[in-house]
Amino acid sequence: MKKFLKSVSLFLILALLLSCVSFASADGVIEVTLPTYKTGENVGAIFFEPLVERFNAAYEGKYHITLEELTQDMYSDKIKQLGAANALPFLVEGGDSEWIKQVVIPNDMFVDLSGLIADNNLMDILIDSQVAYNTTEDGKVFSICVPVTRPMGLYYNGAMIDLGDKTCADLSWDEFAALLGENKIAFMTGENAWTTQLVLGSLIAVEEGGAELLSTHTIDKLMDYNQPCIINAVAKLQKLMQDYGTSNQVGAVYADAANAFMSKNAAVIANGSWMVGDFLEDGGKWSNGFDGATVRGDVLPGNVALANNDGYQYWIPASVSAEQQEVGKAFILFTLQPENLEAYMLAEGGVAPKLTPSEEYVAAASENKLLYEYVNAVNADTIIVPNAGDIMTSSIGNTEFGNLLPLLISGQLTPEAFCQQLTALAQETALD
């Protein structure tokens, strides 16, 4: 029995000791942990991981950021949970916008960044409308967005599809689909059904009144989906998914959709410019004879590109220590440095309206043909509107939309019924 007692006390001591994780480090370096989904296999990691490494190198002996992996799917839920536990990290990237609007901002759970902007003349680089969106009624600035706009379009496999001398800017979805033949589009219904959301966005944008609807509901989300422009777009989406969806589209998560494209099971995938990194070299994701060099970038058919400038990005929770706030601010300033913005645009595309590009950047950018093509597919007539997901409340956008799609594909829901269900769900989750 003595042994028994001993092992009990040993366990107790062990458990207690190990649970006291100390953040203080002896040599004066402020060490912080940043939970992020932009690690590992996530497309965002290609830029973000080196950025943090550069930050750690630049502030060696002063700050050190350790990344901690979260999946993109769980990020905003986990952040909410950490918020409820008063255990938010020193820096948060966005999060559930309803939660931010109804909990974080009213309860002053954030550090006002207006001082940071003023002290560092950040208005010289930040996009005015983004700062305006992030400014609260009492003049505080909630978050700072990286000032790069990135209209989103699609990629297609040039070895599988030939658009002739046309581009998607000249084609409607019907005409584009006709050129597909037996080839498939990488749709998904799992997670937030991202690639499908983008196609739906482009379909809504070309409907009558659709572009306006998308543009006007980014702040106050859409509660009524029973509108002709949405019903029509959903009907077209249903047809596209039934005729051109990959065999694994139902239940597919983003990685499945990307996998379908990079294994030639699909010839088209709608996605943002950040995906070009996946096509520059084979990072173990290519299979079945796929070659990134054959990938072409374009706008979405109907000459639509999707971009939403109204959003939240980097914010610092008020609950973290002054030291950690300091790191958060340093990191935000670091990402806004011209060379880092350029590195960002090189890796993930986009345009920084107020930045005068350096010669090195211009040279490097023109070398990346795919990115160049993708970014320059936008022309003067391109309809640039927010994405379908931007007008959905978070639970609709994150799960319900994807959960309903299989029923739309199977025909168990008509486009009208699909929109009715979305409407009911949107009204249900509205907080009282």
Binding site: L14, A15, L18, S19, V21, A84, A87, V253
Partner: protein, 303 residues
Amino acid sequence: MENITNPALRKKLEKAGRSRLVGKKKPLTAGRILYLFCAYVFLAFIVLVSAYPIIWVIMSSFKSNAAILGNPFSLPDTFNLDAYLSVLNQYSFGTYALNSLITAGGSTVVSIIFYAMAAYVIAKYNFPLKNFIYIILTLTLLVPGHTKTQPIFQMIMNMGLYDTRTGLWLVYLSGGIAMSLFVLKANFASIPMDLNEAASIDGSGFFRTFWQINLPLARNGLATAGILMFLGNWNEYYYAALLTSSEANRTLPVSLSYFNQAFSYDYTRMFAALTIVVLPGIIIYAFFQEQVTASVASSGVKG
């Protein structure tokens, strides 16, 4: 049987003995063969659905991605450990396993003592409210764990134990109240009360009688209840996911939810990671197979 003199009784007992013998060696009639056939088909199905999913996962972890996609039934051509090495490299499974061990093992060791003390007095002594206490404690078996989500989250948060192993350990302490009490009460009840009386005549106090006489005799029950409680906590996912966030405090089951994104391009590594998560539980079970089986049976019967 020699000393039984009553001839009628003797005859009856002999008959009973014979019929028992007959009952054991049933003749192989056609009906019996059909019955056995059906029974074995059914049992084979049970074995198949229980074992095949895990065997399939383990087998697939040695196959290439293309082979997994090509033919899910094929056996691996080679014994390739690359996927395991790369997965072990990428994730600190050692940390996760240690976390699981500390939280599940630590809470089991402590709470089993608590429950043994309670079961001991309930089994051996009379006191007011005894039945009431026993019944409400065993009713906890019927409380779905999720129903306490918000209050427990709040409590752990107020104690400043969010994202610590201590917090999870504390929650796991309350895990197997009902099951442990069933098992331990039965165990203590089977220890003769004479021992206690003898001990008290020898001047042994209440605590010593429990600790030095009864507890060692109940070690089977302790092991039985302990292992089942340990397995329950070791496999617990919901509260572990809710109450921890950093990688340093992640447990094995929680690590599962991270694989989806990380390995979706590579089924081989996904299956290797899954194998790493499920294997420890199976190994522990293999060692304590008898106790686990016994504990399940006794916990149910007394319910």
